[in-house]
């Protein structure tokens, strides 16, 4: 990983430089300031609220949500699609950019993996929270049918979670060996955890070789798995005969959309960590500029798929599709639709073309809008289609013509987002968010000094 152009440092220079890097990157792990405590308290409150809402749902059934027979999938499924989408960023950064030898991802790759692991993990849970009979979840393993896209989805989500976790843990090994030596006063449980996760790392050439090899193999493996997880998620919809879902480009349309929301999520986390962990020397304006350009690229590709997905059926106005398109373009879903298109895709893409906006502060706010737009987009992919089925909705209560999420439903949805954010928070506290050894190597510190 070391850069060829870095000039050779003397032993003393290397030691000083390494100490500075290691101190800067481990300091946030030991500090629990006011800001962190408030943040932890908010997360705790959110999770408590979630627990209460889910208790009500288990007790009284899915009837406590706004769902009914003409919107059998609601906010939970939209949220699930959003989670899978965000999780895909791990593959984009570690595999696609990593394998092509792009250097600026060094301080970002671990953050991307942390986001990926957290969201992939909770995605599986979101599906369980949506089930009418969560007590029968094991039936999926006992009676699972390989013909069902749900079974494919669960399989790939679990595989992706495992590979992403490995891609997070493996490059952590040398770092944990470093931390162990530098933070001798850490609590006992943390010491035990570090002892376990450093896997006897001493920094021999053989160990370096095997870690690089494993990461490389996993990075290659994760590409098809990641493509599969979001493609299969899109098939939950595309495999039906409903207007608005019956589309052949749903796979790539979802995958490209996932890259947009994933990159935006990573930008948000990068910004918060840079500020809270005082990492401006490591997550520099240069890195933000590069990620911003990446966001422009993936937004452009997504924009292209949106044109295909909406303009082609809008041109034909086939019976059934016509109504779907009109409710999105000018009807009751127009607000959601145009917000998602403009604030979630088009405006961010245009703004980030200008250097002025490719700065951390601006990018944070732009990414917030991209994320909100991404969630709204999943919502209008899932819900409107069900509200205009092939046959008219009759002889049922008026409320079956619309869908409004209820309080418990919103609490559970926000709660799952809270869970993923909590995991990111914990990971970012227990482990260094930026790889110490790779950063040191790129700064010209020799391996001997790193592993001393």
């Amino acid at each position: 990983m070391s850069d060829i152009n870095v000039k050779k440092l003397s032993k003393e220079e290397a030691k000083v430089r390494f100490d500075k890097i290691a101190d800067d990157l481990t300091k946030p792990m030991t500090k629990f300031g006011m800001g962190f405590q408030v943040w932890a308290f908010i997360l705790f409150l959110g999770l408590t609220l979630f627990g209460y809402a889910y208790f009500i749902q288990v007790k009284d059934g899915l009837g406590v949500t706004g769902m009914h027979d003409y919107t059998a999938w609601g906010a939970y499924i939209a949220n699930f699609v959003f989670f899978v989408a965000v999780a895909l960023v791990g593959m984009l950064i570690t595999a696609v950019l990593g394998l092509t030898g792009i250097k600026w991802i060094t301080p970002i790759s671990r953050i991307a993996e942390m986001v990926a692991v957290s969201f992939a993990m909770i995605a599986g849970l979101v599906i369980v929270f949506d089930m009418g009979r969560p007590d029968r979840v094991l039936n999926v393993f006992i009676h699972g049918r390989v013909q069902s896209p749900i079974v494919w989805d669960l399989t790939v989500v679990m595989t992706y979670t495992v590979i992403s976790t490995l891609l997070l843990i493996l490059p952590l090994i040398p770092d944990i060996a470093i931390i162990k030596k530098r933070l001798p006063n850490a609590p006992k449980w943390q010491m035990i955890l570090w002892n376990l996760l450093s896997f006897g790392w001493v920094g021999t050439p053989a160990q370096y070789k095997s870690i690089h090899k494993m990461v490389r193999v996993l990075a290659i493996l994760i590409v098809p798995v990641a493509l599969a997880i979001h493609t299969v998620t899109s098939w939950l919809f595309a495999s039906t005969l409903r207007h608005g879902w019956d589309s052949t480009i749903f796979g790539p349309y979802f995958v490209t959309g996932a890259f947009v929301s994933g990159v935006a999520a990573v930008i948000i986390v990068m910004y918060v960590l840079r500020k809270q962990y005082k990492l401006a020397d490591y997550l520099t304006d240069y890195h933000f500029d590069k990620v911003a350009k990446l966001l422009v690229l993936v937004s452009l590709v997504y924009f292209y798929f949106n044109i295909n997905e909406f303009l082609v059926p809008a041109y034909k106005m086939k019976a059934g599709d016509d109504h779907h398109i009109l409710t999105l373009f000018t009807g009751e879903w127009a607000g959601w639709f145009w917000f998602a298109q403009f604030f979630g895709n088009i405006i961010p893409m245009i703004l980030l073309l200008f250097k002025k906006f490719r700065k951390p502060g601006w990018m944070f706010w732009i990414s917030i809008f991209v994320i909100l737009g991404a969630w709204a987009k999943r919502y209008i992919i899932v819900i409107p289609t069900q509200l205009h089925p092939h046959l008219p909705i009759q002889n049922v209560p008026e409320a079956f013509h619309v869908y409004h999420p209820t309080g418990p439903e919103i609490a559970i949805t926000l709660g799952t987002i809270g869970m993923a954010v909590t995991i990111v928070t914990i990971l970012a506290k227990v482990f260094p968010v930026i790889p110490i050894w790779e950063t040191a190597e790129e700064a010209g510190v020799d391996r001997e000094t790193i592993n001393e």
């Binding site: 009284d60 059934g61 899915l62 009837g63 406590v64 769902m67 009914h68 027979d69 003409y70 059998a72 999938w73 599906i127 949506d130 089930m131 009418g132 009979r133 029968r136 979840v137 039936n139 999926v140 006992i142 009676h143 699972g144 049918r145 013909q147 069902s148 896209p149 749900i150 079974v151 669960l154 939950l236 919809f237 495999s239 039906t240 005969l241 409903r242 109504h323 069900q386 205009h388 089925p389 092939h390 046959l391 008219p392 909705i393 009759q394 002889n395 049922v396 209560p397 079956f400 013509h401």
Partner: protein, 318 residues
Amino acid sequence: MSQKKDSKGTSRRDFLKSSFVAGAAAVTGGGLLSSFAPSEDLGQKVKVLTPEGKVVEVDEAKMVPVKEIADQIGLSEMQKRSREGIAGKHWVMVIDQSKCRNARKCMEACQTAHHLKPEQHHINVLQMKDGEHTAPYYMPKPCMHCDNTPCTKVCPVDATFKRQDGIVLIDNERCIGCRFCVAACPYSARVFNWSETLDEKNGFEETYDMELNVPQKKGTITKCLFSADRLREDKLPYCVSACPNGVYWFGDMNEDAVTNGTSGETVRFSTLIEENDATTLMPELGTKPNVYYLPAKDRQFPFAEEDKEKFNKDHHDH
């Protein structure tokens, strides 16, 4: 079943054409079957079609009615039987739209039989209008019991399945409540128990009968079953017998015979379909339904005036 006899090379189709008794092996009673079959053929020996498609002769005295067997067999056997369906049958329904006056007796009978709430419909009489200048009509809509089923394909746990007699059933003791089948069904035929069911409220705790889908369970699916429990007893489905207007014909496609639920008249299925230019619902979807519709021409009951206002409102919402 000891006296197996070869059918002397007669093909299955020829056999059915000659309208002999075709049906489930030893577990067939009379009822529906005998009403279609020429009675003079019934003697000491009865010809029946085995699940393997072979014609065999059985001693009539040895045949045991379904009900007694249900008492004798255990629960797991009953579930197995419910999943397999009635051998040799291919159930079919024909709905005559020219006769429907929206009496809704079918909906009532169905909801009573299956312990459904007022907003839950296994069969729903819809008020239809195809185009701006076309006439409105009533269209009863049960499950289509498709041969290319969008719903059973997507089920992750085999809780909804297609039986050998063509019926699409559900097992609410296995259903995990993912509602993928609701999303997949283009006919909106599937209903979910979103909250406490009537059975749970009333403390109704009978052994689960898959062919009736009772007791209903919270968090699971329910849907039209073609009254599989009634077919087992050689009776017509609940909705079919409840109709006062002769809308429904029901029978076995293998026998090529359907019986009208109101008049009791039995006719050839193929003739009824051919002479009345029958269609299926949304055939372009490729679902291959087993419910056929006769067109709403020469209507005996024109679209009710009081429905028109409500109807126009509904369709404006659309």
